[in-house]
Symmetry: C2
Subunit: 153 residues, 2 copies
C-alpha cells in the first residue's frame, strides 16, 4: 500500500485543500468563552446585543480553535507535520453565531525547502472559514513545517 | 468615585501593562488539545518525545487562550473594549510545559482615533508571554478597538 501520509514534497502552490465542516453550538461558544475569553459578547445574549457583535457570537479564538481542529483532522494528522513557528495574519470578518455551519479550506501559497535544516520544508498556507451563506468569517495566513519524504521514513 | 474603566484616551504609546501570571497544568494542556488541536505532541508524553517539542507541550493556540484570559481579566474587562479585527503576527518561540508559570505583559505601540467611525479608536499592542526563567515563549501583535470617553458614557 502506498504511503498516503503527506510529506513536504506533496504540497503544490495553488492547491486548495478542503478541510470539512463544523456546526457551532451555543454551549460550545459559552464554554470556550468562560475559560479563555469571558467577554459579555461571547457569554450572554442580552449583554451581547449591546455590543458590536449585536448578539451572541463566538470568541475569535474559539473560531480559530474550531478551524484548527478541522485542519488537524483533515490535513495535519495525515501528514508529516512538524509544527508551526507562528501566524502571520488573522482577520475576523463576520460574527460566528450559534447554529452556524462553518466550512474551511486552505490554499498552498508557497513551498520552500529549509536551508538551515535539511530534510524539512516550509509550506505557507492561506486559510478561509466561511458560513453557510458562503460569507467568509475568518482568514488566516501561516507557515507550517513538514518533513521531506526521505526524512519522514 | 472616578470611572476607572479605561477608554481609548487612557492608552499612551510606550506604556507597558502587566497582565499577571498563569500556572499551566498537564490536565489543561491535554484537555485543550483533545478538543482543538489533537496532535501527539500536545496529548501524550511518549509520543511527544519523538516530536520537535521533545516532550509534552501546550498547543500554541492554548498558549494564546491562556494569554487571552489574562488580557481579559487584567485589561479588557476593565475597559471600554469593542473587540478586535484580527491579529497581525504571532510567534511561538519556546515550548510551554506542564508546571510552567507564565507571565504576560502588553505594550501600547500606537494609538489612533478612527476616521471612519468617530467615537472610537484603535490601539496597537505588542504582547509577550514569558516563562519562569524569563524566556519569551510567545509574542503577539494586534489591534484592539476602544470607545472614546464621551462615547462610552
Amino acid at each position: 500500500m502506498p504511503d498516503e501520509t503527506r510529506s513536504f514534497e506533496d504540497f503544490r502552490p495553488g492547491e486548495v485543500i478542503p478541510l470539512g465542516t463544523k456546526t457551532v453550538s451555543r454551549d460550545e461558544i459559552v464554554a470556550f468563552a468562560r475559560v479563555y475569553d469571558p467577554q459579555p459578547m461571547h457569554l450572554d445574549d442580552a449583554a451581547a446585543r449591546e455590543t458590536m457583535l449585536g448578539g451572541l457570537g463566538a470568541s475569535g479564538w474559539h473560531t480559530i480553535g474550531m478551524f484548527m481542529r478541522l485542519l488537524c483532522d483533515n490535513l495535519l494528522l495525515k501528514s508529516h507535520s512538524l509544527g508551526s513557528p507562528g501566524i502571520d495574519r488573522v482577520r475576523w470578518l463576520r460574527p460566528v453565531r450559534p447554529g452556524d455551519v462553518l466550512t474551511a479550506v486552505t490554499e498552498v501559497v508557497e513551498t520552500r525547502a529549509s536551508r538551515s535544516r535539511p530534510g524539512l520544508g516550509i509550506v505557507q498556507f492561506r486559510s478561509t472559514v466561511t458560513n453557510a451563506a458562503g460569507e467568509p468569517v475568518m482568514t488566516m495566513e501561516n507557515p507550517i513545517l513538514f518533513a521531506c519524504r526521505e526524512t519522514a521514513r
